[in-house]
Amino acid sequence: MKNISFKVYNKSNTTTIVFIGDWSINNIDIIETKLLQFNSKTSNIILNLENVDNLDSSGAILISVLKKRLEKDNFNIKTITQNKKHLKLLDIIEENISKQKDIKVKKYSFLYNVGKQTFNIYLSIIEFLSFLGKFFIKSLKLFKKGDFRLQEIIYFIYTAGLEAVPIIALTSFLVGIVIAYQTIVQLSKFGADIFVVDASVIAITRELGPMITAIVVAGRSASSFSAEIGAMKLTQEIDAMKTMGFKPFYFLIIPRVVALLIALPILIFISDIIGIFGAMIATKMHIGLSFNIFIDRLYEVLKVKHYIIGLIKGPFFAVIIALIGSFHGLRVTQNTESIGQETTKSVVNAIFLVIVCDALFSVIFTRLNL
């Protein structure tokens, strides 16, 4: 099948190249280098295509490239073949190739790219801030009108809230066990075993419960919000909405934010309970502290403020997660790859900002001696 070759004959002042066989896309990669290395010693060259059984456009391109180069070097070239189709194809391709000009692609230096990327990051921060501003203004208007889209809100409470309960419960339970174990080991060195209750329940309600919940919700919902909104943008659904006079902000973003505002504190509450339960089990297994004593101690040490401080963070995390998810969804451009990129960014940024927000809270509450 791979029958393709060419032969070169020298006769006084003329060189003849005889092309033989199947000059098609299936074969030309075999012969390409060899053919293009051809160099003639005579000034007249004849390209003999009589023995070509099959010539397609790629074969013709290869021959034309050779011919173009030889013509540039001032050789006299003649093409002979009886096959009119081959001749016509060659003519078309030659004309086509002769029109080709090299387009220069600008190459930028490393420094240029670093600058460009930095500027892009700056731009996206500005963009997010303006998005945030837009969100607050729109939600103020919304509160005046009272036009909440209840059905969507309930739907998102279900998918982003209720469906997240099992995984949040499991993670909190495990983290509760881990934190209790770690503190018991340290505290029993001082014979202060009972303080495990103080350490674990305060840590869970103040920090760990809200954080675990927010991170799980960010992983689940920020990504799904981005992908949903991104796909809608790609299929022009958002454009369709706009032309019908629906505001994507009210339809897509506010329901998601409101749903998380409602769902996240509830999820944190669930996470607190199950985390503490995990700690109880770990304590019982390790030092045999009964549930009753644990709960008695819990009443003494767990002041309501710890629990409230944990819960207060909920709405803040909710807004961060829902807005980051929606923001990145809206940034999707007209190609499928960008959905993946924006989804990744939304999860990473949501988790990062949740942690930043939590750190800020820690500083503030400590300064306020809470």
Binding site: E32, S58, I61, Q100, I103, T333, Q334
Partner: protein, 245 residues
């Protein structure tokens, strides 16, 4: 004339819904062949069956005189290199620029040098009358007509002998559509192609199509050259061509 595509008694069912009930047609070498029908008549499904994206419930499809249901994986690959399919909306890979879209099949299936690849890409762009400057653009930066041309260039990259076009002129303005028709005829003449297309475009049918088949009532109700089809008394045929007469 050799037969290139032959469809025999195709029956297609989706659940209880019958789409085709004994569809047969034959496309000869070097022809421009059109498949017509109302929306929902199963044109696209038929095309998908021919290009092996769907399997018919029963019936046989021969391409280059081979029964496509009896090919080995190796033969299927060889066959797929010999045909090109142009989808209705181009189906260019959005993550690649136009140059890489066209070069992708070449890179996968040949060992040509980079230089040669770029010559071929340029030549294919020239064949479909696209400016070289689009090479470095991404599909979403192109207009509908340019996307179709670029997609056609990708379809042509492996020098197929058989082209399937799904509504090639839909979404193009009349001038663009006629230019596309002309392009198709030119390509057929220069590259020795056989072309099977689904189309609704009456101008395309009148200007460039050699033979056609009309799908209605789950069957081919009329086929042959345009004159032959126009003689048919089937209501859909009458309705479809009424405007012209």
């Amino acid at each position: 004339m050799k037969s290139v595509v032959k469809v025999e008694n195709i029956v297609t069912k989706f659940g209880a819904k019958i789409v085709h009930n004994g569809v047969s047609l034959e496309v000869k070498q070097n022809e421009i062949y059109a498949i017509l029908g109302e929306s929902g008549s199963g044109k696209s499904v038929l095309l998908k069956e021919i290009v092996m994206l769907l399997k018919p419930f029963s019936g046989k499809i021969y391409i280059f005189n081979k029964d496509i249901s009896r090919l080995t994986p190796q033969e299927i690959l060889e066959l797929k290199k010999r045909w090109g399919v142009l989808f209705q909306f181009g189906a260019l890979f959005t993550s690649l620029n136009i140059e890489n879209n066209i070069a992708l099949p070449l890179k996968e299936y040949t060992k040509l040098s980079k230089k040669m690849l770029s010559y071929i890409v340029d030549a294919k762009l020239e064949m479909v009358n696209l400016d070289k400057s689009v090479k470095y653009l991404y599909p979403y930066e192109l207009s509908g007509g340019m996307i179709k041309r670029a997609a056609l260039a990708r379809t042509l990259s492996l020098d197929p002998k058989l082209l399937f076009l799904d509504e090639p002129t839909s979404g193009l303005d009349p001038v663009g559509a006629r230019a596309f028709d002309e392009l198709i005829v030119n390509l057929r003449d220069t590259l020795d192609l056989t072309i099977v297309m689904i189309t609704h475009d009456l101008d395309t049918i009148y200007n460039i199509v050699d033979r056609l088949s009309i799908l209605a009532d789950k069957k081919v109700v009329s086929s042959g050259t345009l004159e032959e089809v126009l003689k048919s008394n089937h209501p859909f045929v009458k309705k479809f061509f009424k405007k012209r007469e």
